[in-house]
Symmetry: C2
């Protein structure tokens, strides 16, 4: 039997059956424009509002704080550009981190043309921020701090609640945005507890279709709109609503909220089993971010003496889909900016693979990977002149233990 094992759930997820089935009628008989007042529009409008309630519920937000849009990148752009343009009379300083998703990094870079001054916070070898550095960076003219909730490549979780507390204490007027795209559906999110002003999520990371997302905008916070035009989304995002995908997103969010604890337990077990087996069976492996709090589903491993691309191709040949990092930067030959920021040298960063589990992965699939990966690595290393020159070298960064960390809200 041909294997098709998908271990790239941080890149995208399959649409879950319940969401798929709920969306189909909105591609067929319920096709009206939600703004229309006649029969074709009415139930469609209602369906969007039901989905809004479900997405709000996933975040512990209120319905009116949810703006539907086309996905995580649009959410990040709307939050950051919108906050900047609404507040640039007050200041032009933005703080973010060097390990953000491109949707944040490129957005703040593009804002430099409009006078933005950006501070990029670094991370340590575990991928963690220095909160003292953050505190020092906040100034009277800091209008926005944008820090991701969890890193898409390593799964490292940042303490957003603590970050918000530090920022607001130093400058109560500074807005705090977090890109929670990788957290939604994997960890419980509570915007009230976090205290953030803006939070981005995306449908296709939690088993809804691609092309739909949401931005949480805290009540009372005013930001400029990114897409001007019609009155949709309470004048905060113009354009006919992507009804079917919004309906699917709502259903996926509702189910995620229900299942989150159980699924977290299941994925943590599978992930830990996988990590422990790899570290036991394969020498010269570095588990990136292993000392930090991490998402329950994400493993990022550097295999010394081999190229990540070679590993991925070999895995692909036995039916296993994994990734060398962000899908949004794949195709590029540059090593991961996240791993470089954590202090890895270029060679090690190049030898990295991300395995991200999801709700459709089984223990059998984990066992299959545990069986297939060691001979792949061994074969690639045998072909590597670097490896053959150094047979007796001590392991440069062999990880001793792999604890099952708790990843609660911080």
């Amino acid at each position: 039997m041909e294997h098709k094992i998908y271990f790239d759930n941080n890149a995208t997820t399959p649409v879950r059956k319940e969401a798929y089935e709920k969306m189909l009628p909105f591609l067929t008989e319920h096709f009206g424009n939600p703004s229309s007042v006649h029969w074709a529009g009415r139930n469609v409008h209602q369906a969007i509002e039901e989905a809004r309630s479900n997405v709000a519920g996933l975040l512990n937000a209120t319905d009116k704080e949810i703006v539907f849009n086309a996905g995580g990148s649009e959410s990040d752009n709307h939050a950051i550009k919108g906050a900047f343009f609404a507040n640039k009379q007050r200041g032009r300083h933005i703080i973010t981190t060097s390990v953000e998703h491109p949707a944040v990094l490129e957005t703040v870079k593009d804002l430099k043309k409009f006078g933005a001054e950006v501070t990029f916070l670094g991370v340590d070898e575990n991928g963690e921020l220095d909160l003292g550095e953050l505190e020092k960076a906040v100034r009277p003219d800091t209008i926005l701090v944008s820090v991701m909730y969890a890193n898409n490549e390593t799964g490292v979780i940042f303490p957003i609640k603590e970050i918000t507390r530090i920022v607001k204490k130093k400058n109560p007027e500074t807005l705090v945005h977090t890109d929670a795209v990788q957290v939604a559906g994997k960890e419980r999110i509570d915007v009230l507890d976090l205290g953030v002003d803006l939070l981005s999520i995306s449908g296709h990371k939690l088993y809804a279709p691609k092309g739909v997302g949401a931005l949480y905008i805290k009540r009372g916070i005013r930001i400029e709109r990114l897409i001007s035009g019609g009155h949709q989304e309470r004048n905060r995002r113009a354009g006919t609503e992507n009804v079917a995908s919004i309906v699917a997103f709502g259903e996926a969010a509702r189910l995620a909220a229900d299942e989150i604890e159980e699924e977290k337990k299941r994925l943590s077990y599978l992930r830990d089993k996988l990590e422990n087996a790899i570290l036991e069976k394969i020498p010269y492996v570095k588990l990136n971010g292993h000392k930090a709090h991490r998402l329950c589903n994400t493993t990022n491993l550097s295999f010394r003496y081999v190229e990540g691309e070679g590993i991925l191709l070999s895995l692909d040949m036995v039916g296993i889909a994994a990734s060398s990092g962000s899908a949004c930067t794949s195709g590029s030959l540059d090593p991961s900016h996240v791993l470089l920021a954590m202090g890895l040298d270029h060679e090690t960063a190049h030898g990295s693979v991300r395995i991200s589990l999801g709700r459709f992965n089984t223990e059998e699939e984990i066992d299959y990977l545990i069986r297939e990966l060691p001979p792949i690595i061994e074969r690639l290393r045998q072909m590597s002149p670097l490896y053959n020159r150094r047979p007796d070298e001590p392991e440069p960064f062999r990880v001793e233990t792999c604890h099952n960390h708790e990843h609660g809200e911080e």
Copy 2:
């Protein structure tokens, strides 16, 4: 039998079966991220490029000139804001018309905060532009002219080829954008012949799903991106692609290109039959824009002495979905900005109804409307004190004839 007759195809269209069936596998087994290099991403990437070819074909563009996005409003925002921010060192003057869709009108208004100076061209009582006025308006610092290809409320078609010629002759550096959302699939579009630099279209107006659209960016034209981030769409629009909807959009575009002449003939016949019957059976009716070139599917009628909302509610009760104008402004109590710009008084503009036909409408449905509408208007007028006070008044704007206009490319 309960009637469900949809005459609001300018607001949105049902997804056609062929597009629906082609998209489903991309919501199920072909769920990969198109940026992924493993098995789950490969065929998905290919499917997007096939769709791109089909959309390019509909416009006589090349594949690389097509940027997929979330819809017509995003296209308009990307074109206008992108052109402005890329060129604002050269000038800040934008020309548009007073009858544009809100996605254009609100966008240029929002750009005023960034120093844009906007000239709004008016229209005459037929909804047509004065091209002499346009020519006079173009200045050395005019960086963008944005004129819609056809009006969504009246169907009036603007002579974009002639407009581009006039603009480029006066200032060759001025970019020309056209919102062709209402034209795509109804009239043949040839970007080379038109000579425009930027052209917006939307999937859900041509029997693809909501939430997908495209911006044509002429080769060599550089505009700023609206959504910053990943490398998707050749760095012109970040965010994981809305794969399933793009695939459906491609299929709908391919079929539209094939069927356009035949469907135009069919819809023109139905539309003319409808208009002639209404003008014959109902007194005090004004056919808005009737002397102008118009889209083959659109009729905009003002019924004196009654409110458009009353007509729509009555039509809805007999299963007919029509509109008082743009879905993007419905819900608002203001009369149509398009009809006011054409010189209609508030009362007449308020008494207007748009009937927009589509590929699923039949002659039986037209006959049903012809049968149902006269008694509805008569009943509403009997309830109107205005009507009862003026029984012998001469018809204020009864249209004498309704010619079947040609609507070729201009």
